[in-house]
Symmetry: D2
Subunit: 131 residues, 4 copies
């Protein structure tokens, strides 16, 4: 049986969007996954702030990887995000996903996005297993 890290690496191989955005893996265990994304110039608006959509995209990717780490490949059915502080050019964003609830085919995954010591966003997503 593949390890959590193997499962997540397989998903990353398959996820052209994540790779094109420079997303890489941090610590991975079953049910808890950390990923990183450097802020690219294309993510930043005229005021030097990162478009919130990229924070959501990172969190949503972390959700998918967290479900994969449980060998439970899933799509996101719904999610909410609260933006607490802006991300800026040259930041490296870290998303840490952990399972909040696991009710069979449905999971609730919480993701925190940080940059250094600052919490930028809190995300909660609902995954639906695809098999």
């Amino acid at each position: 049986m593949p390890t959590a890290l193997e499962l997540v690496n397989a998903l990353l191989d398959d996820d052209a969007v994540a790779r094109s955005l420079g997303i890489t893996l941090g610590a991975v265990e079953a049910g808890r996954v950390e990923i990183r994304m450097p802020v690219a110039a294309a993510m930043v608006n005229g005021h030097g702030l990162v478009h919130g959509g990229y924070l959501f995209l990172l969190a949503d990717t972390a959700l998918a990887f967290c479900c994969a780490s449980l060998d439970k490949p899933s799509v996101t059915r719904a999610a909410d995000i609260a933006f607490l502080a802006p991300a800026r050019e040259h930041d490296t964003l870290v998303a840490t996903a952990a399972v909040r609830a696991d009710a069979g085919r449905a999971t609730i995954i919480d993701v925190r996005i940080t940059s250094g010591e600052t919490v930028l966003a809190e995300f909660r997503g609902h995954g639906a297993a695809t098999r």
Copy 2:
């Protein structure tokens, strides 16, 4: 006093992310804004499906433009999205944002994303006025 269209155009000029993603304006009136985004190859994963983060990004952009149309520039404080059907390569995504509630500095904006006749996602966001 600028028209709703002038206000939204000024924000689009300022939003390098939106322009780089090919987002364009559809119908614009005060409190109701339609925008469009063609699906680019970079938004699509290995299975020909658009990463949900790009749908969120489009909806969040529509929220900002909708607040701008009211001459109430805003940042998104929090938002939720439900994914109802996947978007695919070569789709053109249409996001229609409308004001649900306007309580002074706080607004609630609902955004529907469609492709042709299909509803892909429903988004509700909370804007906070920046001045």
Copy 3:
């Protein structure tokens, strides 16, 4: 085939909680239902304000009735609510539920709660059909 009003009345007959709280029907059509609830002393805290849980309860009831009006009995799978203004003793709360999206067994229902001219809360709920 029963009318929307007959369907909603049958659910109200079956809902001991709604009846015990004095919830009554306003205008009813398929996919759009208005209900009312007088604020009772038991709903009010020491400062004369209604506990937000009763606003949620009213909105959630409106969701169930709205699904019933479509002959699609449903349970609430998830919901969110934003509180915009407090309700007070002696208010009569009006909840208006309307279908936002109808994707087979899954529905999204938006509910606005008002007292007189004031919008007190905006609720969005996800119904899951039970048959």
Copy 4:
């Protein structure tokens, strides 16, 4: 300076709704509060299931008590809840609230509702400090 338990007890004294529903305190520390509520006959519909509004009400109360435990009295600005399993007559519901994020006047509080070993609901609420 009052302890977390004293702060929460003072709020419970002030909250006629919570007391009338039989809500009592479990373990209390600063930033983490457990409360309990017995299911009353008035909370149950014709099928022996508890109306989801009462689960929300319990969770929302736990949020307020959790903010009080930090000496940060707060109102709920917005919240979402996912219902995972139904509560039934004669259950005793336990809500455990913990701080997820604390950004000055704004807090995010997560609340889990259980009955015995079963997770019934997961709630996330946004508190706004009142002073």
